[in-house]
C-alpha cells in the first residue's frame, strides 16, 4: 500500500472508525444486477485565504469541507448522492439513494477493494498552510504591497491575496481499485490601479501551483508578480481604443494559451463528443489545424496547477495528444464516457468536490513549440494585433464560437509593435481558428498557475500554455471601426 493512501485513510476513515470491510459492503450493496459500475469518493479539504486591501491585511478565512460522494452507473444512467458525514450509516444511505436508478432486485455483489498500484506522486503531500507561519503570511502580503507602491508613484491602489488548499481524497471503485491522493494548491494574486491625469487603469498578475507557500518567496516570485501588475497598469494608461474587425493576430507565449482551452479543449471533452453536441463531433482523423500545430493535455507535469497524480476516478494522469501536426487525434475522457464510446480513459475524470459528479475536464492544455523565432513572427505582420495578456474566455461548444478577452495588446504596423490598445474581446470559430495558424514560435511557455475552468457549475484548477503564434484572421472586438 502506498504511503499516500495510508495518510489518506488516516484522515478520511480513521476519525469515524471506517474500515475496508465497510467500503466493500457499501459497494457490494450497490452492485446488484443492473448496475455496471459504482464508486465512492472521500474528501477532506482545508483551505485558507488572506487578503490585503487599502493597506491593511483586514481579512482572513479558514474552512474545512469534508464528505463522501456515492455514484452508481447503469448503462447511460448515473445515480448520485452524497453526505457531509463520513460514517458507515451515511455511506449506506447515500448508496441506496444512488442505486435507485436501477430496479431493486437480485443479490448483493461481492467487491473487495485493494491497492496494488504504485504511482509516483507529482507533488509533495505537505500541508501548504503550515509551510509559513501566519505572521509571515501577513508580512509577505505587506511586503508585496510595498514593492508595488514603490515601483511607481502612479500606483494608487494595491490588492494582494494569498490562498492555499490541502485536499485529501480517496476513491474506492466497484472493480476493486482503491486509490488516494493528497493535493496541495497555492495561489497568489496582485492587482493594482494606477492613476494619471484623472485616468485610472488596472493591472494584475499572479501565480502558483501544487507547492507550499515557500514557492512565492523563492526566486522573489511574489515580488515579480507585483512588478508585473504595475507594468501592465502603466501600459494600459497609454492604451488607445482597440480596432474592430477581422485582422492578423499574434498571440504571445504562455497564458494566451487560453485560446487552446476555449477554442479546442472544451470541444474535445468526451461527454460532448459522445452525445454528438460538439462542433468537433466525429472529426477524429480529420485535419482541424495547420500542420504546425500539435496540442496536448498533460496532467503529468510535476507541481503544475492543473496536474493530478491520479484523477478523481483513480486513473493515473496522462499526457494525451489532442491534435498532432494538425490532425485531430483524440478526446479527453472520464470512465463513463470512455466506456460508452469504447475508448480508454485518459485521466481526465475530474470533479469540484465530493458533492459533484465527475466529468471529462482538462488538466494542462498546451501547444508544443514550433520553429519560428518570436521576433520573426511579429516582423512578418503588416497590420495587426499583438496580444500578450488575457482575462477570461468562454465557448459555445455546439457552434464552436469562442471568445477570450485581451487585457494587454498592441497594434502592429509594418512588422513593428506600436502603441498599446485597450482590452478587447477576440472572437473566433474553434474548428477553423487553428487552420489559420501560419507561424508557431520556438518559445513554448506555460502560464504562471492561475487558471480556473468552469463547466456545468463546477470549477477546477487548470493550466494552459503555448508558444508565440500567428493567426491569419481573427475578429477583434474593439470600438474603433
Amino acid at each position: 500500500m502506498s504511503d499516500i493512501l495510508q495518510l489518506a485513510q488516516q484522515s478520511l476513515w480513521q476519525p469515524t472508525g471506517l474500515i475496508e470491510q465497510d467500503i466493500n459492503n457499501t459497494l457490494g450493496k450497490i452492485m446488484t444486477p443492473g448496475i455496471d459500475y459504482a464508486d465512492l469518493y472521500f474528501q477532506y479539504s482545508r483551505h485558507e485565504s488572506w487578503a490585503l486591501d487599502e493597506g491593511t491585511v483586514k481579512s482572513g478565512s479558514f474552512g474545512i469541507d469534508q464528505g463522501v460522494g456515492v455514484r452508481a452507473v447503469a448503462g447511460e444512467k448515473t445515480g448520485f448522492a452524497y453526505s457531509d458525514e463520513i460514517t458507515g450509516n451515511a455511506l449506506l444511505d447515500a448508496a441506496s439513494a444512488a442505486r435507485s436508478i436501477a430496479a431493486n432486485s437480485g443479490d448483493q455483489g461481492a467487491v473487495a477493494v485493494r491497492n496494488d498500484r504504485k504511482i509516483a506522486p507529482l507533488y509533495s503531500s505537505a500541508n501548504p498552510m503550515e509551510s509559513l507561519k501566519d505572521e509571515d503570511k501577513v508580512a509577505l502580503l505587506r511586503q508585496i504591497e510595498q514593492v508595488a507602491r514603490k515601483a511607481d508613484s502612479r500606483v494608487v491602489q494595491v490588492m494582494v491575496s494569498l490562498a492555499a488548499a490541502h485536499d485529501t481524497i480517496m476513491i474506492a471503485r466497484s472493480d476493486g481499485l482503491l486509490a488516494g491522493d493528497i493535493r496541495p494548491l497555492v495561489r497568489m494574486n496582485v492587482s493594482v490601479i494606477a492613476e494619471e491625469n484623472g485616468r485610472r487603469e488596472q493591472g494584475s498578475s499572479g501565480g502558483g501551483g501544487r507547492y507550499t507557500m515557500e514557492y512565492f518567496v523563492e526566486q522573489n516570485r511574489a515580488e515579480e508578480y507585483a512588478h508585473e501588475a504595475v507594468r501592465q497598469a502603466l501600459v494600459n494608461l497609454e492604451a488607445q481604443d482597440a480596432p474592430a474587425g477581422e485582422m492578423t493576430v499574434v498571440l504571445g507565449p504562455g497564458w494566451p494559451g487560453i485560446l487552446l482551452h476555449e477554442a479546442i479543449g472544451h470541444g474535445l471533452e468526451g461527454d460532448f463528443n459522445r452525445k454528438g453536441t460538439s462542433a468537433f463531433s466525429g472529426q477524429i482523423g480529420q485535419k482541424v489545424a495547420s500542420s504546425q500545430c500539435t496540442v496536448v493535455d498533460d496532467g503529468t507535469i510535476a507541481n503544475r496547477r492543473g496536474s493530478l497524480t491520479i484523477d478523481d476516478e483513480g486513473e493515473a494522469a496522462k499526457n494525451t495528444v489532442l491534435i498532432e501536426n494538425g490532425i485531430l487525434k483524440g478526446y479527453m475522457q472520464d470512465q463513463t464516457n470512455a466506456r460508452l464510446m469504447g475508448m480508454e480513459p485518459t485521466g481526465n475524470g475530474r470533479r469540484e468536490s465530493y458533492g459533484h459528479l465527475p466529468m471529462p475536464r482538462m488538466t494542462n492544455t498546451y501547444m508544443l513549440a514550433g520553429e519560428h523565432d518570436p521576433q520573426e513572427i511579429i516582423s512578418s505582420v503588416d497590420n495587426g494585433l499583438y496580444a500578450v495578456n488575457f482575462g477570461g474566455g468562454q465557448v459555445d461548444i455546439t457552434s464552436g464560437k469562442f471568445v477570450f478577452s485581451a487585457s494587454e495588446a498592441y497594434v502592429v504596423k509594418n512588422g513593428k509593435i506600436t502603441h498599446p490598445v485597450k482590452g478587447a474581446t477576440l472572437i473566433g470559430n474553434g474548428p477553423d481558428v487553428l487552420t489559420r495558424v501560419s507561424m508557431v514560435g520556438n518559445d513554448l511557455e506555460l502560464d504562471t498557475g492561475v487558471g480556473v475552468c468552469g463547466k456545468e457549475g463546477q470549477s477546477v484548477p487548470v493550466g494552459v500554455g503555448q508558444p508565440t503564434m500567428r493567426i491569419d484572421g481573427l475578429t477583434v472586438g474593439g470600438v474603433s471601426v
Binding site: K58, S61, F62, K77, D93, I101, V138, K422, I427
Partner: protein
C-alpha cells in the same frame, strides 16, 4: 430507464426531519457558536448557517441520464476583536468541528490588522420585523414524477420541429431549505425558501451548422411553474431560429438586448456603484451620486419585499432591514449599493445590500414588447446571448461576444454569430433609449428588452 420499481425508494433514508426541529437545531448551534466566540474573548461575532436538500434529474433522448440527491449544510462565522476580524467555515455540525471552526476564526483574527471600519451592522439598523415573503413551498416530489416532467419537456422540444437533430435533454430540479443569520447584538433572522426549476436544451442542424439553445422556468412555488410542454416548445423555437447564422458585419448600429441578456447591463451598474468598488476607487462611476447617468425616462429600483420573488429578503446578510428604494430615478443616480463596512469607509450609512441587491428592476419606458421595438429600430442588431467577460469595471470599457439577429426595415432578416459588441458602459447607459415591458421575472434582476442607441459591432 423505465419508470418501474424505483418509486420513492429514496424517501426512507432521505426524508427530512420536521422543519421546526431543524430550525431549532440551527438556533441552538448559532447560540453555541456565538457563546464560544465570546468565551474566546471576541468582542463581537456573527454567524450564517443553513441547511438544504433537493434532487435533480436529467433525461436525454427519453432515457434517464442522471439522478442526483443533494443534502447540504454549511456554517460561516466572523469574529471581531475590537477592529480585527477573522472568518472560518465548516460543513460539519459536530460539537468538536464547531469548536475548532470558532477557534480557527479567532486565531486568524490574531494576525489580521486593525481596521476601524470593521464590525457588525449598527444595532438600530437591524430588522425588527421579519415578514413572511412567501418564499417556501417545499415540493414532495417523487423521482418518477420528476422524470416524467423532464421527459415531457424534452419530448415536446423534439416533437416541435424536424430540424431538431440532437438533444442535451430535459431537466427538473427542486431544492428547499432554511438559513439563519445571528449576531452578538442578539439578532436572529431565519428564512426558509424553496426553488424549483425545469429546463431543456436541444440542438438543431448538422455539422458546422449546428446550433444549441435552451429555455427554462424557475419559481418558488411549483404550482406556478410553466408546463413542461411550453418550456420544451420555447426551447425548440429558440434553437431553430438560430439556424443559418452568418457573421455580422463590422460597423456601428443600434442594439436591442433581449430580456435574458438585458439584465446583465443592470449587473454592470451594480458592480460599478457597489461599496467595495467605490472605496477602492476601482469603478468608472466614482463620485457619481447625484449625477445623471441615464435619460430622464429611466427608473431603476429595488423591490426586496416582493412576495414569492427570486431575490426577496427582509434583511440583508448582516441583518439590516431591507427596504424598497429607487437607485436611479429620472435618470439620476440617487444612491450606491453598500454594506455596513463599505458605508463606514465612505462615511455614510449602509443601504441594506450586504450580499447584493434584491429584485433590482428597470421600469419599462413604454408599454412595448420585443417585436414592436424591432420595428421601431429599423436597422440594427438583436442580441440573444452573450459570452465572455470583457467588462472593465475601472474604465467601463465593454466588449463581449454575442449571438443574435440582423434587423432590416424593422424585421429580422437572418441570425448572426461570431461577432462582438463593444462600447463604454457610461455611453451605453446614457444610450438606453427604450426599455420594454416584456419582463423576465424568473431572475432576481428584472429587465425587459433594452434598446441601446449605438454600439460598435465587430464581425466580418
Amino acid at each position: 430507464m423505465g419508470n418501474q420499481s424505483n418509486k420513492s425508494m429514496a424517501e426512507k433514508s432521505w426524508s427530512p426531519q420536521p422543519a421546526d426541529a431543524q430550525e431549532k437545531q440551527l438556533l441552538e448551534i448559532a447560540d453555541q457558536v456565538l457563546e464560544r466566540a465570546k468565551a474566546n474573548g471576541a468582542t463581537a461575532a456573527e454567524v450564517s448557517l443553513g441547511h438544504g436538500k433537493g434532487m435533480s434529474v436529467n433525461v436525454r433522448n427519453g432515457e434517464v441520464e442522471t439522478v442526483e440527491y443533494n443534502r447540504d449544510k454549511s456554517l460561516g462565522i466572523t469574529v471581531y476583536f475590537d477592529h480585527r476580524s477573522g472568518s472560518s467555515n465548516t460543513t460539519d455540525y459536530a460539537d468538536a468541528a464547531l469548536k475548532s471552526c470558532v477557534d480557527a476564526a479567532c486565531n486568524i483574527a490574531r494576525y489580521t490588522e486593525e481596521d476601524e471600519f470593521n464590525g457588525l451592522a449598527d444595532p438600530e439598523l437591524l430588522a425588527t420585523k421579519i415578514p413572511d415573503l412567501d418564499l417556501y413551498y417545499p415540493w414532495q416530489l417523487e423521482m418518477d414524477e420528476a422524470i416524467d416532467l423532464a421527459t415531457r419537456c424534452e419530448q415536446s422540444a423534439l416533437d416541435q420541429d424536424s430540424r431538431i437533430t440532437n438533444t442535451e435533454g430535459g431537466s427538473l430540479s427542486s431544492h428547499d431549505g432554511a438559513d439563519l443569520y445571528a449576531n452578538s447584538h442578539g439578532f436572529r433572522g431565519l428564512s426558509r425558501s424553496s426553488r424549483h426549476s425545469i429546463s431543456c436544451s436541444v440542438i438543431a442542424g448538422e455539422g458546422d451548422g449546428m446550433q444549441r439553445d435552451y429555455w427554462y422556468d424557475s419559481c418558488r412555488d411549483q404550482s406556478e411553474m410553466r408546463t413542461p410542454e411550453s418550456v420544451g416548445k420555447e426551447t425548440a423555437q429558440r434553437t431553430v431560429r438560430r439556424l443559418g447564422a452568418r457573421k455580422a458585419a463590422t460597423g456601428t448600429y443600434p442594439v436591442i438586448y433581449e430580456p435574458m441578456v438585458a439584465a446583465s447591463l443592470l449587473s454592470h451598474l451594480v458592480s460599478a456603484i457597489s461599496g467595495s468598488s467605490l472605496y477602492r476607487r476601482a469603478s468608472f462611476l466614482l463620485d457619481s451620486k447625484g449625477e445623471k447617468l441615464f435619460r430622464d425616462s429611466i427608473r431603476i429600483h429595488e423591490q426586496p419585499l416582493l412576495k414569492k420573488a427570486p431575490g426577496s429578503a427582509s434583511f440583508d446578510n448582516e441583518g439590516v432591514a431591507t427596504k424598497p428604494r429607487d437607485i436611479v430615478s429620472g435618470g439620476v443616480l440617487n444612491d450606491y449599493v453598500l454594506s455596513s463596512y463599505s458605508a463606514r469607509k465612505l462615511g455614510t450609512q449602509t443601504t441594506g445590500n450586504a450580499g447584493g441587491v434584491h429584485n433590482l428592476t428597470i421600469d419599462p419606458t413604454e408599454d412595448i414588447g420585443l417585436d414592436d421595438m424591432i420595428k421601431s429600430m429599423g436597422t440594427g442588431l438583436v442580441v440573444s446571448e452573450l459570452i465572455g467577460f470583457g467588462i472593465n469595471n475601472v474604465t467601463g470599457d465593454y466588449s463581449r461576444g454575442a449571438f443574435g439577429f440582423w434587423v432590416e426595415n424593422g424585421e429580422i432578416a437572418y441570425p448572426v454569430q461570431e461577432f462582438t459588441i463593444a462600447g463604454n458602459l457610461r455611453d451605453m447607459f446614457m444610450g438606453i433609449e427604450v426599455v420594454g415591458s416584456d419582463f423576465d421575472i424568473r431572475r432576481s434582476t428584472r429587465a425587459g428588452s433594452i434598446l441601446v442607441g449605438e454600439m460598435t459591432v465587430a464581425g466580418a
